[in-house]
């Protein structure tokens, strides 16, 4: 019949031996080695990659040789002192430390944020200054965490200052421990 020349035949007629062989050739490729290799490379890149690129946290420190009168201009009422000690202990007091240590309070890294924000709300912006005093047993993480709190609470003025002996005594009394070795 002439029909099978012009139109494709749904009846699956034989078109010839050569054509049939070509159509039936299997195009499937075994991809297993390719997958193996792919995952090997993925594993390699996962292990060598540093996903969280380190960030830079800016810190400016005051010049110690600055004139004495330029320092300590903070009003005592606006001061908020945070003391850092071992085992992530945090202590704080507002304003000046009372001679009997009555306004010396202990806290931790979770609660100190609330205290700082409370102080911030109650103090005129220009008077507010947060003083961070790490003692000998505080670790670097504590200091950076505290500086970070300053960023979080959006505190404009803060300083890292050396701790006073009186404050160390109070910390030791609160922690209930003997002074650190060397009596520093």
């Amino acid at each position: 019949m002439g029909a099978d020349v012009s139109a494709p035949d749904p009846g699956a007629h034989k078109k010839g031996p050569g054509v049939k062989k070509q159509a039936r050739k299997d195009t499937k490729v075994d991809m297993t080695p390719m997958v193996d290799l792919g995952f090997l490379l993925i594993t390699f890149f996962i292990f060598t990659t540093t996903m969280s690129t380190p960030k830079a946290f800016k810190l400016n420190v005051p010049d110690d040789t600055a004139k004495e009168e330029e320092k300590n201009e903070a009003k005592a009422s606006g001061a908020f002192t945070v003391l850092l000690s071992k085992d992530n202990n945090v202590f704080y007091y507002e304003g000046q430390l009372a001679p009997d240590g009555s306004n010396f309070k202990s806290s931790n890294f979770k609660d100190i944020r609330t205290e700082i924000l409370k102080k911030k709300a109650n103090t005129p912006e220009k008077d507010l200054v947060v003083i961070i005093k790490p003692n000998e047993t505080a670790v670097y993480k504590n200091v950076v965490d505290m500086l970070d709190e300053m960023q979080i609470a959006d505190i404009k003025r803060y300083a890292v200052v050396d701790i006073f002996p009186g404050e160390i005594e109070l910390i030791n009394a609160t922690e209930g421990n003997a002074p650190p070795a060397g009596g520093k």
Binding site: M31, S52, V139, Y140, V143, V144
Partner: protein, 223 residues
């Protein structure tokens, strides 16, 4: 009988094309996102901060201190960093009478990318090490604990004398979580003594806690 045959003949072929597609997609992602870890002689776990500024890479002077308080100094491997490392070595050699040869100075530059943490007096013997020995050499760290013998000060002084007071653009402090505060204080003291008051602390990113002033500020800024 015929039923059993049917089961046995079932093909175990799985079409892996989708699998390959996915695996190469992931592979591409990792290849593009990856940034190789720099070779580190010291292991340091950085604290977290909310700062989202990326760590600069050009003209870096990095001072690292690990959890035992060992202090290391390193320079970035770019042109400015190498130049500063060279100047430091030259001036230090002159000031302390170490008598470093040009070969030792170029070793200093090479080691300074990974970190140098030896007292000034041991510098010459330290620079005689080869690359493999360097990696396994237990560096004692630059002594800083004693205020009179704060040798980081010597290194920094040599650097600033060499550059004629020109400070590195980026002074990075790379501290470990567990470093005791006095070491950090002494490192700062050495910098202050040399008139460097501005630092960048290397930290890992953490999210800004919701509801805090910084969070509100950032939301307002993005509106």
């Amino acid at each position: 009988m015929s039923k059993l045959n049917k089961i046995a003949k079932k093909s175990t072929w799985v079409d892996m094309t989708a699998f390959v597609d996915l695996s190469f997609l992931i592979l591409t992602f990792f290849m593009l996102a990856t940034k190789f870890k720099p070779p580190e002689v010291i292991k340091i776990e950085n604290p977290n901060s909310v700062s989202s500024e990326n760590q600069p890479e050009k003209d870096v002077l990095k001072v690292s201190f690990d959890k035992d308080g060992k202090v290391f100094i390193s320079f970035s491997p770019d042109k400015e960093g190498k130049e500063k490392a060279q100047l430091t070595a030259e001036v230090l050699s002159r000031q302390k009478g170490l008598g470093l040869t040009p070969a030792e100075i170029s070793t200093f530059i090479k080691f300074s990318v990974g970190g140098i943490g030896v007292p000034v007096t041991q510098l010459k013997s330290f620079l005689a090490l080869n690359d493999t020995e360097y990696k396994s050499f237990p560096q004692p760290g630059i002594p800083v604990s004693d205020t009179l013998n704060n040798q980081l000060n010597d290194y920094l002084n040599a650097l600033l004398t060499g550059t004629g007071g020109r400070k590195p653009e980026n002074v990075m402090l790379n501290g470990d979580n567990a470093t005791k505060y006095p070491y950090f204080k002494n490192v700062l003291a050495a910098f202050k003594k040399n008139g460097i008051f501005s630092f960048k602390l290397i930290t890992s990113l953490e999210g800004v806690p919701t509801g805090t002033p910084l969070y509100k500020k950032q939301r307002e800024a993005s509106k």
